[in-house]
């Protein structure tokens, strides 16, 4: 059990470092890093705070504290994935609207140019 908890600690530390590195390199925006950092910090704290983990295991009906942590990690990351699904859906909608608007504006511009050319030719 202790080995699994240690692995979780290392995993959460790696995740925090990875997210911070991505933030520094501007590969991830601050607002989207919060969910990952929050989830990783929660895992880090729980994997080191045995009393809290035992209490959680008791509440969840899981005798093995490490299993309780795995369950909690699963739930936390499901929430993160759900949040990002919402963000991606919003971004996709915005992207489609923008792409349509760009195409329509280009079409209007093209029409204006053609009309100008026609007027130029006739005069």
């Amino acid at each position: 059990m202790e080995r699994l908890l240690n692995a979780m600690t290392v995993l959460s530390l790696v995740l925090i470092l990875l997210v911070l590195r991505s933030l520094r390199r501007a590969h991830i925006r601050v607002e989207y890093s919060v969910s990952w950092l929050g989830a990783a910090t929660a895992v880090l704290v729980l994997s080191r705070w045995h009393k809290a983990l035992d209490w959680l295991g008791l509440r969840l009906g899981i005798q093995d504290a490490a299993l309780a942590l795995v369950f909690t990690v699963g739930c936390l990351f499901l929430i993160v994935f759900y949040r990002f699904s919402i963000v991606i859906s919003h971004l996709k909608d915005a992207n489609i609207s923008l792409a349509q608007r760009v195409a329509i504006l280009e079409f209007h511009l093209q029409s204006l140019h053609e009309n100008k050319e026609k007027i130029g030719i006739s005069s």
Binding site: A99, Q100, V102, A103, I104, E106, F107
Partner: protein, 243 residues
């Protein structure tokens, strides 16, 4: 054309994605069937010469900056048509399966009945020759699903040969399903108490290319459309409860 028609303010739209082999012929046939009626090709980020072929055949082209999928392309066409003030828009496919000589039938029905949407149905005069067994099975399934929702039977809910008037244009400009839009669009209209009619149309083999809906994709198609229909019903019911 054998008789003089009042085209009113009609725009023909053709969503196209990598249709360079067929788009020119479809536009030429459309111009022959309806001389003087503007044709707009919505190039959905094609990697081939679809846009160039369409322009050289005499169509105007709305070029999307990247691939949006069928619904996104059709909606872009509807938005532009609405902005340009068109009263009627008829959509045909770019693969040549729809016969542009049937367009006047759709327009006549829109004008005569005042319905908001008309579907060119492949199944009204017996079974269509150029649809696969799987597709017909799917169509029958959706007919059964849609019957109680729409309150009347629909023979060809997956047809891409569709005409709409300005009221429907306004609705679709604001909200239009992005993937596999035909069936969801029917539900969207029905929830707003709009009417639709069906007219029989001819179906021909594709000039080129293959259907994008494979056997595996058809399972995804069914699940996606069912979910879309359910979501549309729930959205509408929620709004009704709030009122």
């Amino acid at each position: 054309m054998s008789r003089r028609m009042n085209h009113g303010s009609l725009l023909i739209i053709i969503p196209a994605y990598n249709e360079q082999a067929s788009i020119g012929e479809v536009i030429r046939q459309t111009n022959q069937a309806l001389p003087g009626v503007p044709v707009l090709v919505i190039d959905d980020g094609s990697a081939d010469a679809t846009a160039a072929m369409a322009r050289s055949a005499g169509a105007r082209v709305l070029s999307l900056p990247h691939h949006l999928g069928l619904g996104g392309a059709v909606q872009a066409g509807y938005k532009l048509a609405f902005e340009l003030g068109y009263d009627y828009v008829i959509r045909i496919d770019g693969d040549g399966q729809h016969d542009p000589r049937d367009i006047p039938k759709l327009l006549d029905t829109l004008q005569a009945t005042g319905c908001q949407m008309v579907i060119g149905s492949r199944y009204m005069d017996g079974a269509a020759n150029y649809t696969s067994f799987l597709r017909r099975l799917g169509v029958n399934f959706f007919r059964a699903v849609l019957r109680p929702i729409l309150g009347k039977p629909v023979r060809d809910p997956t047809s891409g040969f569709v005409g709409v008037n300005r009221e429907a244009l306004l609705v679709f400009s604001r909200s239009f399903p992005l993937e596999y839009p035909e069936i969801e669009a029917l539900v969207v209209l029905q929830r707003r108490a709009f009417r639709f009619e069906e007219v029989p149309v001819r179906v021909r083999p594709r000039i080129a290319g293959r259907s994008s809906i494979t056997a595996v994709k058809s399972v995804y198609y069914i699940l996606h459309v069912l979910l879309g229909v359910l979501v549309n019903i729930l959205k509408f019911e929620r709004r009704r409860w709030r009122r």
